[in-house]
């Protein structure tokens, strides 16, 4: 390899937390603002989270909540206006020396959300995928470069014949895979994948996810996965962070988050996942989050561990409630601004958003079947009777 000098600005390993997990990336109280003076807007607010080496950490949240902005801050495109970002314990945000910057660029790759905006339309796929290899001299000779490029292009499910073509000749999904190939060929340590699979159909998506998993197993790669497809996120993530309007509102291990979503925004998010089953999808109840239910005038909210690394954003009183309920394995009562909302009364308090309601609907369906000729009205009547009993 024509490798560059090993400048040891970054240590081999990052700091280790109390459970012995190596912290690869750490955001500490990060604020990000756009604009200057009066018209400036804070779009990322006091965000803190750690990503451990070898894990897949996902960020989910609504459009405009700041996910991409955080990703771009990590690769130093967006400056932080407060707080700092550490990689292996070394600050990589703000002013840093050139050697460190080069290492950051080399080790942290981002696969961009918008495939057509991020690919140079005038360059061939071969050039696009090779560019990073060139910049960092990551190949022995021309034959080695070609081998590397062809290998990665096949791994992402394209053909070597595609290398001479230009991005506009590809479908959206194919372009997304070019972006993935360009990042993966660099053999990075941390990959920020911004909606890497949303433009892909189910089968290619499975291939790409299996591929990402394989890269992870073989190279101990770490992922920051930005996505809105919660069904996929649940399947691939070790931990998930939920972000709402620039605030992290909940962080937990994947199954924990889906079993015990404490923050109402998380619950509404889970309820919105489309179910690939026409009957279930038709009957689904959407929970709508209303931030007005929180009274934060006197008591300021913060992100705190309610036990076992499950972090929730809330004020003193809410956090205390989340802790008690979680210890009992229960969920908070669903709240909406108008508490007399009939729809919400159908949702029993003690159950998780999805399974609870689904079970409830199954029960309703069973009742409906029993009621038979008596029909829908009687079924509903029975539910209300049951509700009253419970």
């Amino acid at each position: 390899m024509k490798t560059e000098k090993k400048t040891s600005v970054l240590p081999e390993r990052g700091p280790v937390d109390e459970k012995g997990r190596e912290i690869l990336l750490s955001l500490k109280n990060v604020d990000i603002r756009f604009g200057k003076g009066n018209s400036s807007a804070k779009v990322v607010k006091n965000v803190s989270f750690d990503i451990y080496r070898g894990e897949t950490f996902s960020l989910v949240g609504e459009s405009g909540s700041g996910k991409t902005t955080i990703g771009r801050a990590i690769i130093r495109v967006n400056p932080c206006s407060a707080g700092e970002i550490q990689y292996k314990g070394v600050r990589i945000s703000g002013k840093i020396n050139q050697a460190l910057e080069r290492q950051v660029i080399r080790n942290i790759q981002m696969v961009f959300q918008d495939p057509s905006a991020s690919l140079n339309e005038r360059a061939t796929v071969d050039y696009i995928v090779s560019e990073g290899l060139h910049n960092f001299h990551l190949y022995k000779d021309e034959a080695d470069r070609v081998r590397k490029v062809e290998h990665i292009i096949e791994e992402v499910g394209l053909l070597p014949e595609h290398l001479t073509r230009y991005p506009h000749e590809f479908s959206g999904g194919q372009r997304q895979r070019i972006g993935l190939a360009r990042a993966m060929v660099m053999e990075p340590e941390l990959v920020i994948a911004d909606e890497p699979i949303s433009a892909l159909d189910v089968s290619i998506r499975a291939q790409v996810l299996n591929l990402m998993k394989k890269f992870q197993q073989e190279r101990g790669l770490t992922y920051l996965f930005i996505a809105h497809d919660l069904s996929i996120v649940r399947f691939i993530s070790d931990r998930i962070g939920v972000i709402y309007k620039g605030n992290i509102v909940e962080i937990a291990e994947a199954e924990e988050l889906f079993d015990f979503p404490m923050h109402p925004y998380t619950r509404s998010l889970i309820s919105a996942v489309p179910i690939p089953d026409p009957v279930l999808e038709r009957d689904k109840v959407l929970l709508t989050y209303d931030p007005a239910i929180h009274d934060y005038t006197a008591d300021q909210p913060r992100l705190e561990d309610i036990g076992g690394g499950h972090f929730v954003f809330g004020n003193e009183q809410e956090l205390a409630q989340y802790r008690t309920l979680r210890a009992k394995g229960e969920l908070p009562q669903w709240r909406s601004a108008e508490s007399a909302d009939a729809e919400n009364e159908e949702i029993p308090a003690k159950r998780t958003g999805r399974p609870g309601r689904r079970g409830w609907r199954m029960l309703r369906r069973a009742l409906l079947a029993l009621a038979g000729i008596l029909g829908v009205c009687v079924g509903l009547f029975l539910i209300f009777l049951l509700l009253a009993v419970i």
């Binding site: 479908s171 159909d201 069904s231 399947f235 690939p276 079970g359």
Partner: protein
């Protein structure tokens, strides 16, 4: 369905592209009737021709592409015969509107959001500039842009990916089209907004009565929005049926494969099911069943002769030799049998344990 009128009728359509002296066949004989007020989802692998197919009747086929056969009937006209750009401009955007997967293909980066919506309203509707502004703002609110007034004069780059897409939807709906083509419009949106947008598209369908052609990779979205589903493979419809038929009684091995890839049916930390191999190159002639090389259920005849479209019910069709009376009986894979029960279970199961209710 029978009592509804056909609004668009595509017959045996072929589309080819010229790519540096070579020719690629992207659509290979598609026939599809679109009914009034209905919603058809188009699913299929990347590169299967979903976008190209809809571009043929949206008047958006790229310069290097051409229609090599077939007809597209719309309002008594054969759209394949249109030669002049002016004729297309009377249909595209006003009678047949498209919302693309990538919002920046539809937005002008150097015009403000407000200008872009009002200009479309002014072009297609008879009203004053002030009135157009009011309607544009109403549309922005309808698609869920917070502080619409304040963001009216922003440029596209100041919007997040998801908000840009909502604007594109606002623009498409503001001309009240007969056919709304949605090319993965919710792909960049979070699930909450997606649910709202899907509802919006369906609600406005009741109001305006347009037909929807909805391209998506998300079978959850299909379940949400579609009355019927067309499954595309290598430029052909391989299965067509009502949404229930497609999910609960799929007949084509490719449809089986799509359903098998659902993460909801997968075990955590296991590999996701994926289809082996890649789709065929569209540059060369395809003999037999295009899916055969990747199909674990392929028969000998699949490599020799292209299967015809078999009819299963009045609404359900599939293009596979497995439906020939002479074919051996093959059950769909275990993983997708009783898919409804499995789906209900998977939503109860967590960490290997069934949760109590």
């Amino acid at each position: 369905m029978e009592d509804r009128n056909v609004i668009l009728s595509v017959k045996d359509l072929y589309v080819k592209f010229r790519v540096r002296g070579r020719e690629l066949t992207a659509i290979r004989g598609i026939s599809l009737d679109l009914y009034e007020h209905e919603s058809v989802a188009i699913v299929g692998e990347s590169g299967s021709g979903k976008s190209v197919f809809t571009k043929t009747f949206a008047g958006m086929l790229e310069r290097n592409g051409y229609l090599a056969g077939g007809s597209i009937e719309f309002e008594g006209k054969d759209l394949t015969k249109i030669r002049r750009a002016k004729e297309w401009s009377q249909i595209r955007g006003s009678k047949i509107a498209t919302v693309f997967q990538d919002p920046m293909t539809s937005l002008n980066p150097i015009l403000t959001i407000g200008k872009q919506i009002t200009s479309v309203i002014l072009r297609h509707q008879n009203c004053s500039e002030g009135e157009a502004r009011v309607r544009a703002l109403a549309m922005m609110k309808k698609v869920g842009i917070p502080h619409a007034e304040a963001r009216f004069d922003d440029y596209p780059f100041q919007y997040s990916g998801g908000m840009r897409q909502r604007i594109v939807i606002a623009i498409a709906l503001s001309c009240q089209p007969k056919i709304l083509i949605c090319d993965e419009p919710t792909t960049a949106l979070d699930v909450t907004i997606q649910a709202q947008i899907l509802k919006l598209i369906k609600d406005l369908q009741k109001e305006f009565g347009y037909s929807i052609v909805f391209i998506t990779h998300d079978l959850g979205v299909v379940a949400n929005i579609a009355d019927r589903v067309a499954v595309l493979y290598a430029g052909q419809i391989v299965e067509l049926g009502t949404t229930e038929e497609l999910f609960y009684d799929p007949r084509h091995p490719y449809t089986w494969a799509l359903l098998s890839s659902l993460p909801q049916l997968a075990q955590r930390n296991a590999k996701l099911y994926s289809i082996a191999g890649t789709p065929p190159s569209l540059y060369s002639e395809i003999t037999g069943d295009a899916f055969a090389p990747r199909n674990p259920y392929a028969l000998k005849i699949d490599t020799l002769k292209e299967p015809p479209m078999f009819q299963i019910t009045p609404t359900h069709f599939a293009r596979t030799w497995l439906l020939d009376p002479r074919a051996p009986r093959v059950e769909k894979p275990e993983g997708i049998q009783n898919i409804h029960e499995k789906m209900m279970n998977s939503l109860h199961v967590s960490g290997g344990q069934v949760r109590e209710n």
